[in-house]
Symmetry: C2
Subunit: 324 residues, 2 copies
């Protein structure tokens, strides 16, 4: 395969740097989901850790690198999970972290960022405005700008999930990966294409935030004017060219799903798997719901990449509609 | 310490027999729970596996032993989790399993037992009647009766949780363990008393099903006329003498909690930890809620031992009361 920006030896080495609390997460078959979905379903659960998302894998690499380089501070833009994870990884290493987020971000995520001791700055706009503001802070203060998906550590961290999946290759056919900035898809995809090339890598993004999926299919960066989805973790509009290049090398497909499928998937995960997922984490099952014939009889692994939800919204999503 | 029925070398060996999907479960600090509870809280999560409870650890030992002995069938009484786990462990080994349960058992558990291919027989009474009926079937058919907590494999399986906790000893003060038949408490307690004697072992049972806790305090078997609790997994009435003897050796305390505390704990786990727990799995946090001064400033580990709930009941438990 052509070279991505990633390197499997570095990804293996990353496992020795990342706090074990983020590694070797549960991977198990969930038969109760299968009659509904028409395929064999395994769960890779990335929520049972101190930040309730997979992002700690990458921020551990970022923060240990900063500490080793004698840096004292960093700034990132985040929809909430990266910021929370970076705050967690930085706290134990004496690093000051500023997180820039949209004021429309999930309140529970913002609360946790503050509780973990990071400085939180809110912008009156979406995630792309937060990215601009974070870059401006980095320039002004001369500190490291941590850019999700662009910074290779964020991809390498996510890629350690790929190592764990590759160790079980042969037992499943397809991995469904939420697609936002692309760190998780390119990271896991890189490892699977190298170590388990028979596994199909399918990225899933909401129809309401389709920039990277459209870019994948058109093989060039496509931006969108707006992003409108409950899947806050993947609501970017400006794909990063280097990430797209990698994605084109390692993903087999990228698909878009409707909001109502995401909500149905959230409810299935709660009702049949006993799992709280944030909307981004339900994208994989939403893809199965929208194309059951495509996955029929296959064994899919879906990565439950986060569970940070605002409870009032979550309760609305998972409450069955009243029957009249 | 005086000898329990358990042996740590055997428990270590058990790890090589149990399917890894049940082992090395997440253990992580959940800071979002801490302001509410007034202590440091870590979660040991036993629900991210194919049967959504810790019981697979024990049934793997039971089923592999049966298969090695050339047995073809077994019967157990179960509130649902043991039956589900035994059905799972037996399926891959060609063993026929009959599960006897109360017809009042959690429907979701009974559905999963059936789905896993076990024969399910319902009795018109509580768990103790199911135990009698299972024993009668075993005698009639000449097959192995699997008795939770009495059969040492069920305790040794649970005790492998203790090994995982002991490996992290020094980071926490107290382990809170749901108390039902006593397999989990005696298993984990045995290992901790041997490998990490500084850790306090606190068992927690519902006030509505207090038989083993009363027995512990009176140092003799105390039975109750009835059991009335939403914590279906621990609603026994007839403690097993040999299990009580072990419990007296390895538990530091046993406490009783009210139903409303269990419900509050269920809600806390959902709202602040993003975890679905069954009522038995919320007993530990219920104990903290009822005695915050006892645990203030301490670091407690609570074992989330199962997540098999009937969703309509679960939704009622975790729905905030309407404010008038």
């Amino acid at each position: 395969m052509q070279q991505t920006r990633l390197d499997t030896a570095r990804i293996r080495a990353a496992r020795t740097v990342i706090d074990p609390v983020f590694l070797d997460t549960p991977l198990y078959r969930c038969e109760a989901l299968e009659p509904v979905l028409g395929c064999t379903v395994s769960i890779k659960l990335e929520t049972a850790n101190p930040v309730r998302s997979f992002k700690g894998r990458g921020t551990e690499l970022v923060a240990s690198g900063l500490a080793a380089a004698g840096e004292r501070a960093a700034v990132c833009a985040s929809a909430g999970n990266l910021g929370q994870a970076l705050a967690w990884s930085a706290r134990g290493r004496g690093l000051d972290v500023t997180v820039v987020a949209s004021r429309f971000a999930t309140a529970a995520k913002l609360d946790r960022i503050r509780a973990l001791g990071a400085r939180l700055e809110l912008v009156d706009g979406d995630h792309e405005l937060a990215r601009e503001r974070a870059a401006a802070i980095a320039r002004r203060d001369g500190i490291r700008l941590v850019e999700d998906s662009l910074d290779v550590e964020t991809c390498e961290g996510a890629a350690t999930i790929g190592l764990e999946l590759a160790a079980r290759a042969g037992s499943f056919d397809t991995v469904l990966i939420a697609l936002g900035g692309g760190a998780m898809a390119t990271g896991i995809g890189h490892v699977l294409k190298e170590l388990a090339p028979g596994v199909e890598v399918v990225c899933v993004q909401p129809l309401g935030a389709p920039a990277l999926t459209r870019s994948f299919h058109q093989r060039r960066v496509v931006t969108t004017e707006s992003a409108d989805t409950i899947a806050d973790g993947v609501a970017g509009r400006y794909p990063i060219p280097a990430v797209l290049d990698d994605l084109l090398l390692v993903a087999d497909d990228a698909v878009l799903v409707q909001e109502r499928s995401i909500i149905t998937a959230l409810r299935l995960l709660l009702d049949h798997a006993g799992l709280v997922a944030e909307p981004s984490a339900a994208l994989g099952l939403a893809a199965v719901l929208e194309a059951p014939e495509r996955f029929a009889g296959r064994h899919v692994v879906t990565i439950i990449c986060g569970s940070n939800v605002d409870m009032p919204a979550y309760r609305r999503w998972v409450t069955p509609a009243p029957t009249s």
